[in-house]
């Protein structure tokens, strides 16, 4: 596409310089009824729209509404949608090829992967039993930094990101004329993953607090004996600094103590190499993602109260795991070819969920759990000092007979605004309600707070949060017939923690609204 534009622009310049404006009028677009005719130089054609440089300035015209005549007219049948996806190799090496393949299959297209290097492939989609190429998708798998850099430099159309865009990248993008990357319309959650702290299977350590992990990776704790282990030096393994995973680790763990990674760390370019090295060394510790655990052992994340949260699919999907990291895609500010837009729509659809799961990542489809599977949360509530058993009974009365959805809502610090993943959850749930997927059901939005402050105030906050989500769902499900689904909200304050309240991350995951589904009575 870009080459096309360059060619068109070059042609335009050549025409203007060499032959004068009159000679540059290489296409004429006429409306179907013949009432309107406009001539100009074709600047581009994206399979849908003609972009013309006319005496009145540049114009874009819908190809379906006009007939094109003149030497410059493109052949709509010969149009090849071409776009570039660039960024994290965690996403680009397995997940993105799987998604492109599934998308092509769903479209009834054949797909050929042209491998240029380990980090760069082009996926050519063509019509079955025909040589006609419909799309070429270039996938550059480097790191998140490079993905944003490519987008801002105009070298890619979609970024695969392991982390949200940073403020400096937002500023750079605006300066470069590639738009505001902080806008919610520019980002969507592709899948979920979780950062996982790993040790060898032979290492007896079962859980770790983020603060302790930060001290180990910063080099403040250097011997296992300092954390009740054997007297042996800790071998720290980390990703190279430019990887999105390393940056995520820095943001989520090392930032807790505001220290950099120890210079003694063994650095790896690939997460696979990192976990393989850790798995073989009982004195090693490293980090990776839930999707790339290899043979290493993931640690539960805990606080001082002893509650540990394991990196498991349900916990990641529910954001109950504190190091859950959504895999994000950022899109160009310019309009992409229709097939590219279709692909972006596909990756947010249920059809993509299977490919996401099979690639080892966590999809965003709705799962359910019965009350009997909530043992750990109920145990936490019973063990929590000062909890009123009557509140636990009230909770049981509310949720008994129902199932908990694998979607929960978390809030940005100090606000009732949902975080990125929860915003996506809201949209998905609203869509399901709109298409009648919840007809005849009762959805109960159950609010919880952290344990900081007065219990009565926390009860009130949890009520407000459940009502806020309820309101947002009603707003988002604009076309839903809400008479066919019963929506209600209830709050339980600080009674049901899923993590210790002694840290900011623990409080954050305790501040939540969970959703229970029942048959409407």
């Amino acid at each position: 596409m870009r080459q096309w534009l360059i060619k068109a622009a070059t042609f335009c310049c050549v025409s203007l310089l060499g032959f004068g404006w009159a000679m540059a009028q290489d296409v004429t677009l006429t409306s179907r009824d013949g009432a309107v005719t406009i001539s100009g130089t074709l600047l581009g054609y994206d399979g849908e729209f003609y972009k013309l440089d006319t005496p009145y300035g540049p114009l874009s015209l819908d190809g379906e509404g006009v007939d094109c005549t003149g030497v410059g007219c493109p052949d709509p049948q010969a149009f090849i949608a071409e776009f570039t996806i660039s960024g994290s190799s965690t996403i680009g090496s397995v997940l993105m090829p799987a998604l492109l393949t599934t998308f092509a299959q769903n479209k009834g297209l054949d797909i050929l992967r042209e491998v240029e290097t380990d980090a760069r492939s082009t996926f050519v989609m063509s019509e079955r039993n025909s040589d006609r190429v419909r799309a070429k998708v270039h996938v550059n798998s480097n790191d998140t930094d490079a993905g944003f850099h490519d987008l801002i430099a105009g070298n890619s159309d979609v970024v695969m990101a392991m982390r949200p865009v940073r403020d400096d990248e937002v500023r750079l993008s605006i300066t470069a004329g590639t738009g505001d990357l902080s806008k919610s319309s520019r980002v969507r959650v592709l899948a979920l993953d979780g950062m996982v702290i790993t040790v060898a299977p032979t290492n007896p350590l079962g859980l770790i607090s983020p603060e302790m992990a930060a001290q180990i990776f910063a080099g403040d704790i250097t011997n296992w004996a300092e954390i009740n282990g054997v007297d042996a030096p800790i071998q720290v393994h980390s990703m190279t600094a430019n990887s999105g995973l390393a940056q995520l680790f820095e943001d989520q763990i090392l930032s807790l103590i505001r220290k950099p990674l120890t210079i003694a760390a063994n650095l790896h370019e690939f997460a696979a190499d990192l976990v393989d090295a850790v798995a073989q060394d009982p004195f090693a510790i490293g980090y990776s993602t839930y999707s790339e655990l290899g043979n290493a052992e993931p640690l539960k994340i805990s606080g001082t109260c002893g509650i540990g949260v394991a990196p498991q699919t349900w916990q990641i999907k529910n954001s109950d795991y504190p190091l859950t990291s959504p895999l994000l895609v950022y899109t160009s500010h310019t309009r992409l070819p229709r097939l590219a837009r279709d692909f972006l729509g596909f990756i947010a659809s249920r059809s993509a969920d299977i490919a996401i799961r099979r690639a080892g990542f966590v999809d965003q489809s709705l799962d359910t759990q019965r009350l009997t599977e909530q043992g750990e949360i109920l145990a936490n509530a019973i063990e929590k000092p000062d909890n009123d058993i009557a509140e636990i009974r009230r909770y049981l009365d509310v949720v008994r007979g129902g199932k908990k959805l694998s979607v929960s809502f978390h809030f940005k610090s100090g606000s009732t605004d949902l975080d990125v993943q929860s915003s996506g959850n809201l949209e998905r749930l609203a869509q399901i309600i709109e298409i009648g997927g919840m007809d005849g059901k009762e959805l109960i939005f159950v609010g919880h707070s952290d344990g900081e402050g007065d219990a009565g105030i926390n009860q009130s906050i949890s009520n407000r949060r459940s009502n806020a989500v309820l309101r947002d769902i009603r707003r988002a499900a604009k076309s839903a017939d809400l008479s066919r689904v019963k929506l209600s909200g209830v709050g339980f304050g600080e009674v049901f923690p899923i993590a210790c309240d002694d840290s900011e991350w623990g409080k954050r995951i305790n501040r939540r609204v969970e959703v229970w589904i029942k048959e409407a009575g």
Partner: protein, 347 residues
């Protein structure tokens, strides 16, 4: 091995030039099938007419075939491209004995004693007792007087492999396409129109077909009595194979199970096809493609198909690689992200 030997013996017979010199070069069966002590017995099974001198010599002593004929006269007018063969067989072998002898070279025995599941499409009746000139002018017979039938034989082989044998006497030295489920590869028949190969059996039922260009020659459904299990990869190169499939794993179970890892270098599969089947229990297995840039592959585009058997069935991915340019000869190329790792399912 037995099949190879049979092919090889017959091939040696046919390809021997009339001059005495080169014959001495091919004097021992080791060229055909080393350490195979059952050669004669196996060949004799295919001797249709044991009383015929030449055929019985095949079964009793393969070395006899290496003796140059003393008489070069012949009433057997072979086509130009088969002149060498005619020169060998014509002096001492009458046409009545020719067909059984050639039959001895055909892969007709099911491998490993399993029952063959074969599809035969006879193109003409076997009529050995006719004049040799009639044989050669009959469009339904091959240059060796064999009926132009096409026979596909598939048998069970160990490790969930299938032994595929194809015989089409009138399609000698022909490049054909063998398709077995999602697997598709080019094969070439020998001078008798035979080829034999082993392919991994990815599903309980597999449709095996032979194509000549776009024309389907024969096709057969082959069914195992069990469902093959385990995650598996098959990598099939279409032309040159510039890279090899490598497997890495720290999985202790896998490292103990060297036999399974050994499958990747299976010499019985055709050149350009490698396959790997994971054991039932494993945590993580990594794959990479490694190749050295050389004068033959530099700057060349190679195509391959990756077939994967996973939890959801069989999937195939078409791949195309362009090797680095010739100024990088000697450089080793490793691609780690093309073939997804096998992982224990966690979700």
């Amino acid at each position: 091995m037995k099949t190879l030997l049979k092919f090889g013996l017959a091939g040696a017979l046919i390809m021997l030039p009339s001059a005495a010199g080169p014959l001495i070069e091919i004097t021992e069966p080791v060229l055909l099938a080393a350490n195979d002590t059952t050669t004669d017995t196996e060949i004799s099974k295919f001797s249709v007419d044991q009383n015929t001198t030449n055929v019985s010599r095949v079964s009793s002593s393969p070395a006899l075939f290496l003796t140059p004929p003393s008489d070069t006269t012949s009433d057997f007018a072979a086509p130009a491209n088969l002149q060498t063969a005619a020169m060998v067989v014509a002096p001492t072998i009458k046409h009545r004995t020719l067909i059984p002898m050639i039959m001895a070279a055909m892969p007709a025995e099911p491998a490993h004693g399993a029952l063959p599941v074969a599809y035969t499409r006879p193109m003409s009746a076997q009529t050995p007792d006719v004049d040799s000139r009639q044989l050669l002018s009959d469009p339904n017979l091959s240059a060796f007087g064999l009926p132009c039938r096409q026979e596909l034989t598939i048998t069970v082989a160990p490790n969930d492999m299938m032994a595929i044998m194809f015989n089409a006497p009138c399609l000698n030295e022909r490049s054909l396409t063998l398709a077995a489920g999602e697997m598709e590869l080019s094969v070439t028949t020998d001078i008798f129109g035979n080829f034999a190969t082993h392919l991994p059996q990815l599903t309980q039922e597999t449709q095996v077909s032979i194509f000549d260009g776009a024309n389907l020659l024969v096709s057969s459904n082959f069914t195992l009595d069990h469902t093959p299990v385990g995650e598996a990869y098959v990598l099939i190169w279409k032309d040159i194979a510039p890279m090899n499939l490598f497997v890495r794993s720290n999985d202790l179970v896998l490292r103990r199970d060297k036999g399974r890892l050994g499958l990747i270098e299976n010499s019985r599969t055709p050149t350009g096809l490698t396959h790997f089947t994971a054991p039932e229990k494993f945590q993580s297995i990594r794959f990479s493609l490694v190749g050295t840039v050389d004068a033959e592959n530099c700057g060349q585009v190679s195509k391959a198909r990756l077939v994967h058997r996973g939890n959801v069935g069989i999937e195939s991915t078409d791949l195309q690689f362009r090797m680095p340019d010739c100024d990088q000869i000697g450089k080793t190329l490793e691609l780690r992200s093309v073939i997804p790792d096998m992982k224990m399912a966690r979700n």
